[in-house]
């Protein structure tokens, strides 16, 4: 029997000169992972966007726990979204969505 895959949830705060939507955020994260670690590295990340709140510019992404540092490094390397200066800060990491939401609300 195979073990359940361990995951990590990252809370992100997006800061940009222009409003960004859900698609822009996940595209920027994927692009950054691809640029830094290539297709092989991106395939190991199991990245997905769980939620995005455009009013608060707050997002939650999920990734494999083994790829956490690589995903975090990629997110830190984002300098623009849609050609405009932008930055994405990882404000919290957790193993469950519930704990992450609690941390993010604090």
């Amino acid at each position: 029997m195979s073990r359940r895959m361990r995951r990590r949830y990252l809370a992100l705060k997006v800061e940009s000169e222009q409003p960004v939507n859900e698609r822009d955020v996940i595209d920027a994260v994927w692009k950054a992972v691809l640029k830094l670690f290539g297709e092989y590295g991106a395939s190991q990340a199991n990245l997905s966007l769980m939620e995005y709140n455009p009013q608060r510019n707050f997002a939650i992404v999920r990734c494999s726990h083994t790829a956490l540092e690589r995903v975090r490094a990629s997110i830190a390397s984002i300098t623009e979204i849609n050609g405009k200066p932008a930055v994405v800060h990882a404000t919290g990491v957790s193993g469950t969505l519930r704990t992450l939401r609690k941390k993010a609300l604090m």
């Binding site: 830094l36 540092e69 690589r70 490094a73 830190a76 200066p85 932008a86 930055v87 800060h89 990882a90």
Partner: protein, 243 residues
Amino acid sequence: MIRFVDLHLRAPIKDLDQVERMIRKSSELGYRLVGLVLPPNIMRDQINQLQHICNDAKIDLVTRVNLSPKTSGELLRDLRRFRRKFEVISVTCTSKGVARQAAKDRRVDLLHFPATDPRKRFFDPAEAELASKALSSLEIEMTPLLLLTGFSRIRLLSRLRREVEIAERFKVPVTISSGATNEYLIRGPHDYAALTVLFNMSVFSALRALSENPIDIVERNREKLSPDYVAPGIRVVRRKNCV
């Protein structure tokens, strides 16, 4: 709780709004000390103004000057002039002579190498040996890593990997700083720690390079600049008024 330090903010001193934004952003991201690059001829009241902004943001200001001398003679002259004026002195080594002199001089706190020209990164085993004896620290600036793309970034990463390995071998302290010129280039300490994975630095060493190592430099220099300091290990504890 770890006190994180960013010793290298290249904020435009004339634009106080921008300086304030950058300092507030640093404070928000968890830094407790920031080093602002100041012009060597800065006036005391300008420093007080910056100090005021930092106090409002609940962050400690460290005054820093970046020297980029062309010769080792010029470096010695600059050190004599500015050592007692600033808390942190960084030397950008643009030639091998300057790099060697900076590494062996105890008045130099940070050794900085240009990120865009790999031929001017002179941090080799000989340089590391001199630096380890003189307590100089190797500064790794993260902004070029964010801004460079393609082959330039590949070359920089490969150089950094080699330099970090040499620094660890010779026990030269490493300091990680942002080198940011605007608030969009500042990242949190844990994000920088994640980025250092790219040049084979462990997260533990990275967090030390963002906290303990720069704090050591600042505390050592503040003690030396205090009026009670006499010599290493000797300080005035009480003064008696002799009439």
